[in-house]
Symmetry: C2
Subunit: 559 residues, 2 copies
């Protein structure tokens, strides 16, 4: 059986490009060594460049100067040193826009409606002594190109150089408009600095959406203007609250790095902690045994049949959403526990007086929260249950996140909703770390096993979909639920694994040489971005012994 399995594995043939993540959709590289001139500089050939573009260029220059990553080969590029003496030199990089429109800030471009952003770029890195040229239709595209350019450079004995010049990338545009990462900051809290560092790493692999699952039943670390009592009574402590200034800081930081912050206020479930400040709005708060009332402790859900609670929730969501530039906002909608409402006398009385079923009341509730978003010109995002398990009226352009199983994407597509892939069986970064519920000596995580980068990388965004349905796929993301995570392991549990989906949804199914994406050719490049991340202060973990990282293919299952 093992023999039969091994026979199916194709021997790995390295691509020419041993770097670049995600790999551009078009890419031609050479084998010439090219060193940066000591006077190397990046010229912004843009009239009145926005400050965040100027800052991005500064960061790029900093990375090129400070990464000092040696090539991941035996000898670490020491053999290049002699040849570098006579190698051609790159005097600079010139970046410019392809149209004469007044340039908008990266931050402005990054938060445009999904599907309308211009993220493509073209890049040539010549070996004839002339400057490299990066062009795009937008500052956002220029930023994407800068993150590619940054990954071309290595260090050997103090010389910064590329070993794969000339490089030609023509119109590298993403295969999917949504490339995300989700972080849960409610089960355990993450300081602003951890989020910013995560946003940096996201931007390095061209992830463009930060899905911020900011609150949940365990804590409410968000100070909402007009609702200060929710965080003051629902956060873990006064120092574990995101203030309005923190939110703006994070949103600005993200947008300047091409990342749109899509916040989620999960409703009506996952809201128990609101009872600390508003017990009138929460059914079955901390009801026992929690297993009867919720998927995890503590139980507690918004009283969706109550007009007062509905108004409260819509006002709360409006107050949060109006401070955010993103066109997307998630109202959640997962894991509704009907027994909670069946046992809640107020909900039963509300249903009786309105003559509605629970499903009808849920639809009314959801329409109200969604109206608070559409009134602000925003598009609602929901978890899959809202379309697969309930009969809720949703705006046609609602975005649906598939999480329970990748196989549910087809069902969502059959209802003609747009899809973001977030399946637990491929993309949940928390799986496989053991049971976090107490007093369960032999338990493991509900979504065992650990989702390896390889497993994630083999995800097919179009599996089970008809050709006509493919346009419904906006993209996808990996996710970190934080029951067993905290600032102590955010880097190591996320990176480099979350780069898997970044390449799936930027590069698509096909490598630039026309072959299918595969874990064999991906690994050396994933090593490269991992070592680069470490150089930049993100604690991305080793994927193999260093010995193997220096010898692509040699540590393959069948080398």
């Amino acid at each position: 059986m093992l023999g039969a399995f091994i026979a199916l594995i194709v021997t790995f043939v390295p691509l020419g490009a041993n770097a670049l993540w995600p790999i551009p959709r078009s890419l031609q590289t050479g084998t010439t060594l090219l060193k940066l001139a000591s006077s190397f500089d990046i010229k912004i050939s843009v009239t009145n460049p926005p400050q965040d573009l100027v800052d991005a260029v500064s960061r790029t220059k900093g990375f090129i100067q400070n990464d000092k990553l040696q090539r991941l080969v035996v000898g670490r590029g020491a053999n290049d040193s002699a040849a570098l003496g006579s190698a051609p030199t790159l005097p600079g990089l010139t970046i410019s826009l392809l149209n004469n429109n007044a340039p908008r800030a990266i931050a402005t471009e990054a938060v445009q409606a999904i599907g309308t952003r211009s993220e493509g770029y073209s890049l040539t890195v010549p070996t004839d002594g002339t400057s490299a040229i990066l062009t795009a239709n937008s500052t956002l595209g220029l930023f994407r190109g800068l993150t590619t350019f940054e990954q071309l450079w290595y260090d050997s004995a103090g010389v910064t150089y590329s070993y794969q010049a000339p490089v030609k990338i023509v119109n590298d545009i993403p295969a999917f408009p949504y490339r995300g990462f989700m972080l849960d900051t409610a089960r355990n809290f993450f300081p602003v600095a951890d989020i910013k560092r995560t946003l940096d790493a996201m931007s390095w692999v061209k992830i463009n959406t930060f899905h911020w699952h900011i609150v949940d039943s365990q804590s409410f670390p968000l100070d909402v203007p007009g609702f200060p009592e929710i965080a003051s009574k629902g956060a873990y402590s006064s120092t574990e609250i995101y203030s309005p200034a923190n939110i703006q800081d994070i949103v600005s930081y993200a947008a300047a790095r091409g990342v749109d912050v899509m916040m989620e206020i999960d409703t009506p479930g996952h809201t128990a902690i609101i009872a600390n400040s508003h017990p009138e709005h929460i059914a079955c708060n901390q009801a026992s045994p929690w297993t009867d009332f919720a998927n995890e402790p503590p139980a507690g859900q918004l009283r969706l049949a109550s007009a007062a609670t509905t108004n409260f929730t819509a006002s709360l969501i409006s107050a949060i959403a109006q401070a955010l530039p993103s066109k997307l906002f998630s109202t959640g909608g997962d894991e509704l526990n009907t027994n909670c409402y069946a046992k809640d006398s107020q909900t039963q009385a509300d249903l009786k007086s309105s003559g509605k079923t629970l499903e009808q009341a849920l639809s009314t509730f959801t329409q109200a929260t969604h109206k608070s978003l559409t009134d602000l010109g925003k598009t609602p995002v929901v978890w899959e249950e809202m379309v697969l398990e309930h009969t809720v009226t949703l705006p046609k352009d609602t975005v649906v996140m598939v999480w329970i199983s990748s196989q549910h994407a087809a069902s969502v597509a059959s209802k003609n909703f747009r899809i973001v892939h977030a399946p637990s069986n491929y993309f949940y970064l928390d799986c496989g770390a053991g049971e976090w519920l107490g007093n369960d000596p032999t338990g493991n995580s509900w979504c065992d096993p650990f989702k390896t980068w390889q497993k994630s990388y083999t995800f097919d965004p179009f599996a089970g979909l008809s050709t006509a349905q493919r346009s419904l796929v906006l993209g996808g993301q990996q996710l970190l639920w934080a029951e067993q995570s905290s600032p102590e392991n955010i880097d190591s549990i996320v990176w480099p694994r979350a780069a898997s989906s970044a390449e799936i949804f930027w590069t698509g199914a096909t490598l630039p040489d026309g072959t299918a994406r595969n874990v064999g050719s991906a690994l050396p490049r994933l090593h490269d971005i991992r070592y680069r991340m470490v150089r930049r202060g993100v604690r991305a973990i080793a994927l193999q012994p260093h010995w193997c990282a220096l010898r692509p293919g040699v540590c393959d299952l069948r080398a």
Copy 2:
């Protein structure tokens, strides 16, 4: 089936002691709040105290001052503030030895032969205004008592206090003499600072042995006096080498913290990298496919049938071991690949000329390496294969590490060897993190699933052993093999999980109240030491949502 399973789980009843890891074998606590006097000090009532005891006391005072850990309860102890105003005060702690012998340094006590060390201590923390008293037979015992004392203190609004005074611990001595942690620094390199931080954390939970798997087939990061070429050609880089000074630094640092450094030079397998400097001593170096010649890449083993190689290996081990104070030294001996020797013409010629079988040659080789240790007064340690899979003559006092399966302990015991439990099915910290071999899209780690702290904690050191055989069990350890680990995740993959075995082998099977050790009562205490580790700069991960950590038992599978 689920129902039947749940019915077996006993509802958790919290012990009085919500702190202390490992929990002392004898412990009486009260419910009185006791605050530290502003003039609190620790008096060393020892004539001519050794400097490392003085330093240990300074560290204890530092932890008490700087931990500033709030109680893990709802409100974080804010409710204690009012009562603390009139609470009794502890003026100091006096530490003294129970005999009048001239005190030896902790570092001296820590490296005595296994089973001969005096690690016990007694501690009383009164509420009558008098000082606490810590006594022991040795400075090592005093150090163990200090680490217990450190864990009693919390912060509320700037007041340092205990909530469980008075405390009385009478003769807390470890159930097992060997309580270890193993780190592999060969698959990926760990700088000295990471090792020291790990040693700190180990000492906080009374782990007393650092099993240092320092070299392997992938790299040889050890500069051996007389053999500088092995590291200079076999380390990953010139900066990834432990110099003799580094080794002495680490050994001294460990010993001053009650930790004996037991180094391992794994032989004759796991030695491929030696071929970089001594190709004459290595058979099947990097032979392909590696699967035919080794358990993992690269292949390469010492030519055990060669007299020259045997002499080289014995000299190498002697040169390493003589610089180490530990009485234990491991020569490894796992995963010998016989096909490698069958295909190695030199080995076949050597066997032919000597008239020995491979097994006989292995015995000769091993006796030579072990003689190099016994000549230095040291005891050899080997992996289980040396007694279970081979017919090697070993010194009677050889210590055998059981790793393949916990069920093999009985077989080792039946051969009357002393045992250190290191079973992969309970104690391997690397399991469950996915396949590290390349080009294996659906692979998982060979020892899936992840070994949860709960699984590790349920290990029974005496399982399968007769009463008479129990004395053969020296203790056990958790282990980090570093194929997928690096400085980026050492803290998060090790802590707090490795504290599981620390308590198993200190406390034994029974809690101080006479009940059996169990994961239900362990969790709140494990949270406590985890949060304390984080306060001290060790990035131990969250085990649950913070909400659950503040509510012992409420997030149990059946709360």
